[in-house]
Symmetry: C2
Subunit: 190 residues, 2 copies
DNA sequence: CCTGTGATGACACTTGGTGCCGTCAAGCTA
DNA sequence: TAGCTTGACGGCACCAAGTGTCATCACAGG
């Protein structure tokens, strides 16, 4: 038998989100989270650099998925088509079974400026990864940055629709929908 | 004669930036900043909610300038034209005499993730203000969000060029230049 | 059986940030 | 002149985030 219960990281995440939902983000101390998870404060900060970071665990792999999907798109694909393919590729991370959990996390994040700030950092990394991947395909600036910005907006909009209370549609579907709406809107700007 | 030296807030900002440049952001404590400014820690947190916030003092009025300039644009102006006018309107806040100071601040901010995170929050507020002002003009979503996103990118690019070491051109000029480059790039995305 | 390794506990410590109260110049009013 | 209020700051105690450091002990490999 193991000296400690397994899945310490996952236990911390669950304990944190449940505590945050019950009593609010800044009413919960790290010590209380770790107590709930049967661990200590020091262990929490071995798994997460921050108190906030516990709510964004695994978010970093999204950048990798996006970058790989953009790189894997056919050479003939336009920047927008490459981004559309990348949005499709993230369906693995946004399966229907994850939606309820995503709603919980989103509820906590939406309620606190500190957390929305961290969310912005994650999205900025996502956009940077997309822009890098596009430049790797030979898309010049500022087109690469612009496409990444539009992709980020499509991602954000799609995610919002995906976690919306009544929604049952897949993430890829609503995200691609948001993307094509944005592409159409580019005609009405000038 | 006054009981205390005037301009406490400004003294704090100057003391902070100079200290950060000399020894790095996280090697400097708030107590050291306030000591340098001849004040106390408590007073620092009366003027700034955060240690980071001291580097972004006055940034919030930018949102107001943008919103007012967009609202003041002629009814016939397209979203992009309204944003171009807003970029021009910020020249007051980005005069040539502020450039050297902006370079110092930018040097500090660029070197620390915590500070770039706060910068992202400020830019997000800017984009939100722009999108709101555009919607107020009757621009529907997602065109308003998209235009705000492009405006934010133009602002960021323009600012980067404005503070670039060799640059001597005005902020409005380089920002409008960045904006028109982005508008041209929209044609190459589809 | 021995030894290294990796994950955790335990504890002290620094620092950001807040609550609360005291102090005193300036300004207003009578 | 006297009295009162207001605003800005000092001082102090306190909490919680985050870090450095060492000890502990199951487990894997030889």
């Amino acid at each position: 038998m193991s000296r400690w219960e397994p899945n310490a990281r996952e236990r911390l995440v669950r304990a944190a989100v449940e505590s945050f939902l019950e009593r609010g983000y800044d009413e919960v101390t790290v010590a209380e989270i770790t107590e709930r998870a049967g661990l200590t404060k020091r262990t929490f900060f071995r798994h997460f650099t921050d108190k906030r970071e516990v709510l964004f665990a695994g978010q970093d792999i999204l950048s990798r998925i996006f970058a790989e999907a953009i790189a894997a798109a056919p050479t003939s694909a336009t920047p927008i088509e490459a981004i559309s393919a990348a949005l499709t590729a993230t369906e693995t991370a946004f399966g229907p079974d994850h939606r309820e959990w995503a709603r919980k996390v989103q509820t906590v994040v939406a309620g606190h400026t500190d957390l929305r700030e961290r969310e912005l950092l994650k999205k900025a990394k996502l956009r940077a990864a997309m822009a890098d991947a596009l430049r790797e395909r030979g898309v010049p600036d500022p087109a690469a940055s612009l496409a990444a910005e539009i992709g980020g907006l499509a991602f954000t909009t799609g995610f919002a629709r995906w976690v919306a209370p009544a929604n049952e549609r897949d993430f890829g579907e609503v995200a691609r929908e948001a993307l094509s709406e944005l592409v159409e809107a580019t005609a009405k700007l000038g």
